[in-house]
Amino acid sequence: MIITQSQRLNFKQLALKREAFIYYIFFAVLLIFAVALHDTAFLSVNNFMNIIRQTAPVTIMAIGLTFALAVGHIDLSIGSVVALSALVGALLLQHTGIPLAIAGALLVGITIGLINGLLIERLQVSSLLITLGTMGVVTGLARQLTNLESVPIINQDFTFFFGAGEVWGIPVLLIWTLAIALVAFVVLNNLAFGRHLLAAGGSPKAARAMGINVVRVRLTALVISSSAAALAGLLYAGRLHGARYTLGEADLLTVIAAVAIGGTSLFGGRASIIGAILGSLLMGMINNGLILSGFSTNEQMIARGIILIIAVAIGIKELKNG
């Protein structure tokens, strides 16, 4: 008897846990749209494949940002990194092959991540301000690089690997998402490095006392966040057959909202990869549902903003409750 009672109690605690929140809201939104849009194609496999394809870059950015948030940093520069890395990749593709284009785009991500990290540690300024600054610089660079011109991509192999391709009927964008998600999940949950990331975010003092190189861990997290954005840039370029300075421009809000609603703490120390993925899919589903319901992009933006505020409100409340 006693055992059953305690089990029931545990289940209740589990059901009320912050981690479970994303599942409830995900299925609630799914249900609402399924009912409201029952006479449209919302519930079709095709539409869901579309959502997954469209959200792939956002999901990968969200996974990257989860690493930055795990150590207690925010990275506002990711949207601008998408544009610059896509443009660099597309330009390199006009003169060289795919490997150099990929390397160039990723190098953009790694470099900006390093600059972010080094500035934060050297100046001891919050990541919010530093990455706001680099966001401005990188956005400007992306606009200047081609004088606001688009760079088309005609390389079919590239558009296959980073966009429209399918392997055994599975879209490559889904494969990218799953592969990155799997690696990120393992790093965060199974590797010593993941422990150190969360320790550096949860209690930097304790991490330092136990001999963890907190500065290096934080730097690595920002490089991961920025590199993920660079990969997202390649995926955009592949899907859209070209790069433009506007790529990723509107994604920052979506990504932060997705990660926050997924249960990752905006104050460091707690991170959920599955939450980031579900959060991104939720944002994609809401966009898709709103479009099918006839709402405009303006209204979608309002919806994203509201979701971010809800997510942050829940996070703060939990922080106060300890």
Binding site: G202, A209, M210
Partner: protein
């Protein structure tokens, strides 16, 4: 005379001095701790307790003097050096990640890795091995821990101390330095910590206990070293002096008992 393990000197501090700018924080301080002995380090604020502890645990380097561990001179230039010499410090804030569970905190930055060499190279964690070893470490302290997957912020102050002490002992420490372990605890939990100190000293660990609490010192310590303005003015057996005598030594009112 037959030497038993308990007569062996675990830690010897010889004529340590340390200045910060023009201020001499420590002047020729010397003392020893035997294996299995609990020595209280007493002194008023600014007497040099923290500086002395920081010199032993590798946060500061002494200007002169030497430190011997198990009768061998050692150079301690970082907390990692101190650890390598078998000296573990239980900090006042306990240096734990509140969001992590007990096992995760016990093995923070000293994770047990997977047996497979490739996975081990990647840093893959062997969670099961850590849970087993962590359980053993806590059982050795007879501590009443509800569950090993409980997060630290759900534990009481006394339980957190137990985990911190278990972590120190688990890492093969011969010498454990504790900084005011009962400062933030109630009566019952302080008693639990005293019990823990008795258990680990019974296992041969030398304990250096920094405390303000005379009651605590007289209950747990074998000897007390009293610092006054950077010098050690007394090294006494706790049973031979009264609490009042200790207090007068700390405040500098009497320098006779030494």
């Amino acid at each position: 005379m037959v030497r038993t393990a308990l007569d062996q000197v675990a830690l010897e501090v010889n004529n340590i001095s340390k200045s910060f700018g023009g201020v001499q924080a420590l002047k020729n301080v010397s003392f020893t701790i035997n294996k299995g002995e609990v020595v209280g380090l007493l002194g008023d604020n600014g007497a040099g307790k923290s500086t002395l502890v920081r010199c032993i645990s590798g946060i500061h380097q002494p200007d002169s003097g030497e430190i011997l561990v198990n009768e061998q001179p050692v150079t301690i230039t970082s907390p990692l050096d101190a650890r390598a010499c078998g000296i573990e410090t239980v900090f006042q804030d306990l240096a734990m990640v509140p969001e992590f569970n007990i096992t995760e905190n016990l093995f923070l930055n000293r994770e047990i890795r997977h047996k497979n060499p490739i996975l081990s190279w990647l840093g893959w964690l062997d969670t099961k091995a850590m849970e087993q070893k962590g359980r053993k470490a806590l059982n050795r302290l007879n501590s009443r821990i509800p569950s090993y997957t409980e997060k630290i912020h759900n534990l009481s102050g006394g339980q957190r101390q137990a985990v911190a002490i278990a972590r120190a002992v688990n890492w093969g420490a011969d010498i454990v330095i504790m900084d005011e372990p009962t400062a933030a605890l109630g009566v019952e939990q302080s008693a639990q910590v005293n019990e823990l100190i008795n258990i680990i000293s019974g296992q041969g660990v030398a304990v250096l206990l920094i405390s303000h609490n005379m009651q605590h010192v007289s209950e747990t310590c074998d000897r007390a070293v009293v610092l006054y303005q950077g010098t050690s003015i007394a090294d006494v057996s706790v049973k031979e002096v009264s609490k009042e005598q200790l207090v007068s030594l700390i405040t500098g009112a009497s320098v006779s008992a030494a």
